[in-house]
Symmetry: C2
Subunit: 314 residues, 2 copies
């Protein structure tokens, strides 16, 4: 039996995570163009918006409009962030395929980020799952959670690993489809990532979700290698490393989609993504945000002579 290279899903979070962290707002038409270009590169999952009050995040005021346009793209799972039931209802009404809800393992981060305790955030997720269960069977979007600060927190420091797993199991019991782990502040190391995702996969089985890793301390792709070994098959990344550049230039937050796809394809894994087309999408992004710094080693250095896409390997 010919199985071909192992598939890995890259989930692009730039249009949500990236854009909401900028002071400026990308025009709606530019968002449409960028998301279309991302989809054209072969990305099969894109987080396009955040359903929060426009007065809190004016960058996301056009969330419903962006979703309605994105869901026209064939073969793309359209994801949005919703901080609570109200946001999830709005996201569902706009037609998202899936919502992602924020739950933080650090109490301090949870309160700072969404003004709820971790347990209150978990309860919110329960309400979203209940609400979804009341929808027509054919119209039930996915619900996922990435547990924030799963590897440590800038506010409280260490985060208890057992507590992270406890939260993950509680979320599954409430009906969440998948629970991933997020290195929100760039504290994770490969040994920890391997250990934590190994536990997550063992305890959650097919409800174990993806890895959201940051490159704040240059460890992003090293952590990806460790997560791959633990069985993770979904990775968040942001084109140009957009989103979360809390420190000096170059010390980006999100891992860069271009560098991640290069890593995975070079290793012989199949992302379905064409890197040249992904670099074309980067140019569309740059046109939509003139002058905004974009990161990425592969865009700077170019593809090696020896590079072959997993799906076109000789």
């Amino acid at each position: 039996m010919e199985t071909g290279p192992k598939k890995v899903l890259v989930s692009e979070v730039g249009p949500r995570d990236g854009l909401q962290s900028l002071a400026r707002t990308m025009p709606t038409e530019a968002k449409h163009r960028w998301i279309r270009a991302l989809a054209a590169s072969g990305l099969r999952e894109i987080e396009v918006a955040s359903f929060v009050p426009a007065k809190l995040l004016p960058q996301m005021a056009d969330a419903a409009e962006v979703v309605r346009e994105a869901v026209k793209l064939p073969g793309v799972t359209v994801l949005a962030l919703a901080p609570n039931l109200r946001g999830a209802q709005d996201a569902f009404a706009a037609g998202v395929h899936k919502v992602t809800l924020p739950v933080s393992a650090s109490e301090a981060h949870s309160r700072a980020n969404i003004r709820m305790s971790s347990d209150e955030a978990i309860a919110q997720v329960g309400r979203v799952c209940e609400y979804r269960a009341g929808l027509d069977a054919g119209k039930r979007p996915g619900v996922e959670v990435g547990i924030s600060t799963a590897f440590g927190c800038t506010l409280q420091g260490e985060v208890n690993e057992d507590r992270v797993l406890e939260i993950a199991l509680a979320l599954v019991r409430l009906g969440v489809d998948s629970v991933g782990l997020s290195d929100t502040v760039g504290y994770a190391n490969p040994a920890q990532v391997r250990r934590m995702f190994t536990r997550l996969v063992r305890e959650l089985g097919d409800k174990a979700g993806g890895a959201h890793l940051h490159n704040t301390r240059g460890q992003g792709l090293a952590n990806v290698v460790a997560a791959l070994e633990a069985g993770v098959t979904t990775f968040d990344a942001s084109q140009g490393g957009l989103g979360g550049c809390p420190h000096a230039p170059g010390a980006s937050g999100n891992i860069v989609t271009e560098d991640l796809v290069f890593l995975l394809e070079s290793m012989g894994l199949d992302t379905g993504i064409d890197l040249e087309a992904l670099l074309a999408a980067r140019r569309v992004l740059a046109e939509g945000l003139p002058g905004e710094p974009l990161y990425g080693h592969v865009p700077d250095a170019g593809l090696p002579k020896t590079f072959h896409r997993a799906t076109t390997r000789p």
Copy 2:
């Protein structure tokens, strides 16, 4: 039996690899100060100079003087590069503990870099080993090779993996103490690094040397994780990523010592290096090369609240 954390040797190549790639020359006194500061951070191996004609590399004209000062540092193995027998003789005369000799797996790169074929470069190494064998038993420095372009070459593209292993075995037969592999052009991916070093360790045993990895395409630390799994225990790195910035700013060549040490110590491995002292050495480097761009995510972002050195882990 208490074994403690596993030890990993970080070999600092900045004073040689880094400085020789700059157009400017660091004053000899500044080199002394920087090397002393590096040693004070706990680095146990430093490549301090290159023994090549001063008219080819004026940055290295003070090689003998730098070596004579560096060997005074207790507990530090002082390494120098020598391209041929003459260079090795000069390095030995200056008192190095070990020389490293260049052999490239790519014929095209070998000719461009040292104007010799790969086989001629291997023969040079043989002559150095013969010469060393003629020295008094107590005065025989180490001889090592890192095989350049072991993972691909910008000039010739693919490099045959069997050929790389053949070269490694030939070098061991000639009497070399250890043979490592170098990703000279930043082409390597973790799958390839794991595969190649697994073969190297299997075929060379305790003569399998370290990994010299580049971060040109952002894959440097991801490749370190793969090499660790293959049993590699020595890693080259350059403070501030100095050396080899052939592309746009940020697309550094050598992996950054600060980021590598953070990776290893965070994973619970023992490098013997104090990161705060290493950051102090970086300031000494910056004073010696005013205005020179230095890279590194950890220096930019700072250490996490949760960071513990392997040797001081609670």
